[in-house]
């Protein structure tokens, strides 16, 4: 490369840690997230080794309880929620809308520092002795009975919440105000519709988590009984407040993945996404209806029958837009020209695994069956199918797809496909047996269990070993590619999006001149060649 790009403008540490370039901030997040992923993954490894035997022989009960809490907190707040939005989103959103940066670049940098402050606070809580309440912090255990670092861990999550809010704010404002000329809403790539919906949730739901965590910290610190039944407080109020955030939060943890899949399916079918408007509005519908289903986590808690009926009904409704998307993606493949590069393998894996996760969500939305399945491994399997089988798979797919754009290098397709297949296989072996465990009644958060559950646990742990290996593979071949891979052209996949109409890697300010958009996204001509959005 003869010209400078955003990576080569300046090599000093200061230029990285005080950058306001959205692309460098994306890389800062990417590095942090790899770190947190491995910490959360280490906890999972110990958990799965322990669960291979019915006795509690590897770790004590207190340690085990801290491990699954740590796994949940780190993976949810310090890996999954920021994953696609803060890495791929930060990098790609301005490019996709034809802008030179996000609306508020300094806020973007501050967002990363706040995230790191929150992460360090939580890590400090963990290494000081840990927290054993589960990532759900249920009262009165967390407020009155736990002898662990609840306030510190809650503080870490509280701080990280500000990072989420600022990211969402930046995306909403940027998508509204910084679109290139000619880029109308219906010409936006669907990745942006998904990120927009995600950002709405980030901005509206996270403050409720903030106030909830503040209330439990206040209760613990000042010894006041907000959720204490002995002075008339209601432990169920905590659950309502907590899930009012945490259910929309799980849509934060899938919508961006769905957004990525649109890009992958269309590029590797050489075809526009089927039913663009339906998919776009389905994203917004998921965000909106997702605020109305939180009580499905509380069917057996003692909430009223009417409440349970309403929440069950709404939970079935929220499944409809997701179903629409799956059908639309499948229809996109019809009469396409399909290529099975690694991103496409991830996209296809996503469709399968997300569908299984989503269908099992119907089991849980169903009142009578949820009574049996809630708080068992059935739920654990369900959400891992969606969060890991869905979101993490999509993340890897997007990472491989945009790798040439981000790094200016090509990765080894041979190794990437092998990893994708191994991830798919290892994932299913790890989590499918957990559906069986749950249906047979094994409760969650148990490390000592009756021996008849062992066979499925052993299969699951075996799968986890394979999955761990599979997740390590990209570290090596992507790492190698970043430094030694062949140089990538501007548009290695021949895709029509705006991000591909600038060099790989992009220059510091993204475009030499601002593109003017003349076309809908995902347009390919009769010979399956891309028709760029700004031609």
């Amino acid at each position: 490369m003869s010209e400078t790009n955003y990576l080569t403008t300046d090599y000093t540490l200061r230029s990285w840690f005080l950058t306001t370039d959205h692309k460098r901030i994306a890389i800062l997040y990417f590095a942090s997230l790899i770190f947190f992923f491995f910490i959360g993954g280490a906890a999972a490894t110990v958990i799965r080794i322990e669960l291979a035997t019915p006795q509690g022989d590897l770790v004590s009960s207190d340690t085990y309880n801290r491990l699954f809490t740590m796994h949940g907190i780190i993976m949810v707040w310090f890996f999954l929620i920021p994953s696609i939005p803060n890495t791929l989103g930060n990098f790609i959103v301005p490019l996709m809308i034809g802008a030179r940066d996000l609306a508020f670049p300094r806020l973007n940098l501050m967002s990363w520092y706040i995230f790191m402050l929150g992460g360090c606070t939580t890590l400090f809580a963990i290494f000081a002795g840990g927290i054993d309440t589960g990532w759900t912090f249920y009262t009165p255990f967390s407020t009155l009975y736990s002898n662990s670092y609840v306030i510190l861990a809650a503080a870490g999550v509280f701080i990280a919440g500000f990072s989420s809010i600022l990211t969402g704010l930046n995306f909403i404002v940027s998508i509204h105000r910084l679109r290139a000329p000619g880029l109308t809403w219906y010409r936006l790539p669907l990745f942006l519709w998904s990120l927009y919906a995600t950002s709405v949730i980030l901005v509206l739901a996270t403050p409720v988590l903030a106030i909830t965590l503040l209330l439990i910290a206040t209760e613990r610190f000042f010894g006041v009984g907000i959720f204490d039944p002995r002075i008339g407080g209601d432990p169920l109020l905590f659950q309502h407040l907590f899930w009012f955030y945490s259910h929309p939060a799980v849509y934060i943890m899938i919508l961006p993945g769905m957004g990525v899949i649109n890009e992958l399916i269309s590029c590797f079918s050489r075809k526009e996404v089927f039913g663009y408007k339906f998919v776009a509005w389905a994203s917004l519908a998921i965000a909106a209806v997702g605020f109305l289903v939180w009580g499905h986590h509380m069917f057996v808690s003692g909430q009223s029958l009417v409440a349970s009926l309403v929440f069950s009904f709404m939970s079935f409704i929220v499944a409809v837009p997701s179903a629409i998307k799956v059908f639309n993606w499948t229809a996109t493949l019809h009469k396409g020209l399909l290529r099975f590069d690694a991103p496409m393998l991830y996209a296809l894996g996503f469709i399968g695994l997300f569908t299984i996760g989503g269908l099992t969500g119907l089991f849980l939305a169903c009142l009578a069956y949820d009574v049996h399945a809630t708080d068992t491994y059935f739920v654990v399997a369900h959400f891992h199918y969606i969060m890991v089988g869905g979101m993490v798979t999509a993340y890897f797919g997007g990472l491989h797809y945009w790798w040439p754009k981000i790094t200016g290098r090509l990765y080894s397709e041979h190794w990437a496909r092998a990893a994708a297949v191994l991830i798919f296989f290892g994932f299913n072996l790890t989590f499918f047996p957990q559906f069986i465990l749950g249906a047979e009644g094994m409760p969650r958060r148990y490390h000592i269990y009756p021996p008849e559950f062992q066979v499925w646990n052993v299969l699951s742990s075996g799968g986890a070993a394979i999955l761990a290996l599979a997740y390590l593979m990209p570290l090596f071949y992507l790492g190698y590619s970043a430094f030694f891979g062949p140089r990538a052209p501007a548009n290695p996949w021949d895709a029509p999006g705006l991000e591909w109409q600038t060099s790989s890697p992009p220059p510091e300010h993204n475009f030499a001149t601002q593109p003017v958009v003349t076309r809908k996204p995902y347009q390919y001509n009769r010979n399956f060649q891309a028709e760029p959005q700004n031609a």
């Binding site: 609306a103 670049p105 105000r177 910084l178 901005v203 503040l214 206040t218 002075i231 008339g232």
Partner: protein, 214 residues
Amino acid sequence: MPERAAFAPQYASVPHRDNTAELGMWVFIATEVLLFGGLILAYFVYRHAFLQGFAEGSRHTDIVIGTTNTAVLLTSSFLVAWAVEVFSPDTARLSAWLLTGAACLGLFFIVLKGIEYSKEYDEHLVPGVDFQFAGPLANGVQLFFIFYFVATAIHALHMLIGICLLTTLAAICRKAPTARHHTALHSAALYWHFVDVVWIFLFALIYLPGRSSS
């Protein structure tokens, strides 16, 4: 070294930058609505369960200070609105004075709040710090005061941030105001007005239950 541009490269013009910043502030205010909204929801749940306790607790709040504080905040918002209205690089000194006035009123609010807190401490109405309340309504009164302290403390924190914003802008207005500061002023004013609106809700929920004429 090129001159510092009037606007960052992702913007097309100054008005573009300005109305983007304003949208940003509105989105931020939406998040704050949800923050206080969650707290107020919890309040309503407990008020429904402890109707008499909340009414009794409310009767132990100092409505004189509460009303005075409301008047103080409304006046300060008026001054801020006036400051935004008259702002231009030429009349900036007037804006600076108005902003300073509003910030001082904000500080006065905090002082009054502090006096009110210490009175409540003397009356053993601070949950967690030697709370004592005789009678069957003690649980409801305690929950009321937990809400009272949490809500007003969070509100006071927002006030302090707002006071810092107003003071900083007042200083800029006195020294070297440019047209670009109009947007900053406008956004800060939006924030200040929002904090004021939150107070109006809190005033109604804290000082008025149990004090109706019946």
